[in-house]
Amino acid sequence: MMQESSLYRPYLRTSFRRRTVVVLLYLMVLLLTAVTIYRHRYFPMALLIQTLALGSLFGGIRRGGPVKPYGKLALPILAPDPDTGDAERYSLTGTRAPFESMLLDERETGQRDLAHYRAFVILRWVLGLSAVAFWFGSLAAPAVVLPGSPVLLWALMVFVLSLPQSVILWTEPDPVPEGVFALQESS
């Protein structure tokens, strides 16, 4: 599910680093939310651009992030059958074009769907809890909470957009070190 890119792969190799990046993103969103509410200065277009930029930072909903873009299944490339010359036969070997390597295979599609299921479960709780927190906040400190509601909505939006990708980064297992299979076979 991770992009085979030289830009991200070395830095996000271990699950510890990936989880640290996820935690840092949400800490940054929390900090930005608090600072924006405290300063009482909102720029709607800037909020919108920041939302889309931060929400898609991990990829998934766009190309270029550490998570592969969610798309259709990768089909094997078409190649003519050497015996019959039938062009409809799929070739399961050979190199693929760079764009095709970015598409998801069956296992990755399953991972993507599972991540969305987990994100959905988390989101239900978060939406419920934030509605209750907003209600209590608007009763306890209306002068702070009500004018800051667009910024709170912005933070929620970043969370909604980035959550499936964060789940993927959080749950992606560490790569198996080279030589492990050889050791298992020899033992």
Partner: protein
């Protein structure tokens, strides 16, 4: 994804056929949309209407569509066994059905590999309109900060509340509705 073809009934109507299930989904969303529209129309004079719409969606999700618990048409998404019964019930069952004791009926709650894939894919499909709805809410709220003359703040606020309400209703019901909509006919034999 749907537990039992024999007991598959809602309000006494058998739901084995996909067309019947689709009619149920359409009818349910028409009712929910009416409740949301009524709540949005009267939210200035009767703010509690919003909560009624949410409660209706929760009731539909639990008792009609399923997926949230032991009731409803769709199996629980959690894929965990239900709470163990008290020992007294086991004793009664031991006397009535000695052969069935120890063989837990897992078909009512356990999803196989295909059903888990269907569940996950339904949630993936359901996540897209939800995210689009929240983007629309954010755009409208950003627009409301510098509202044009021809549209009042109250109108934009009503629109924001309505879209947020619809997004909440969809978050509670849409994955199970997608499964009911796409699952093929169930063979009773």
């Amino acid at each position: 994804m749907i537990p039992s073809a024999i007991t598959l009934k809602v309000f006494g109507i058998p739901m084995q056929r996909r067309s019947t299930r689709r009619k149920l989904v359409v009818a349910t969303y028409i009712v929910l949309s009416s409740i949301c529209a009524a709540a949005a129309w009267s939210h200035t004079i009767f703010p509690a209407g919003m909560t009624y719409a949410i409660w209706s969606a929760i009731a539909v999700g639990i008792f009609i569509f399923g997926g949230q618990g032991r009731y409803g048409l769709v199996k629980p998404f959690l894929n965990k066994p239900p709470q163990p019964e008290p020992p007294m019930i086991d004793l009664v069952r031991l006397q009535l059905e000695p052969l069935s004791v120890g063989t837990a009926d897992s078909s009512a709650w356990k999803n196989d590999e295909r059903e888990l894939a269907r569940r996950d894919n339904a949630h993936y499909v359901a996540y897209q309109p939800l995210a689009i709805g929240w983007v629309a809410v954010l755009m409208l709220s950003s627009w409301a900060l510098h509202a044009p003359r021809f549209l009042s703040h109250d109108a934009i606020l009503s629109l924001i509340f309505t879209i947020a309400l619809v997004a909440c209703v969809l978050a509670l019901t849409l994955p199970a509705a997608i499964i009911l909509w796409t699952e093929p006919d169930i063979d009773v034999c």
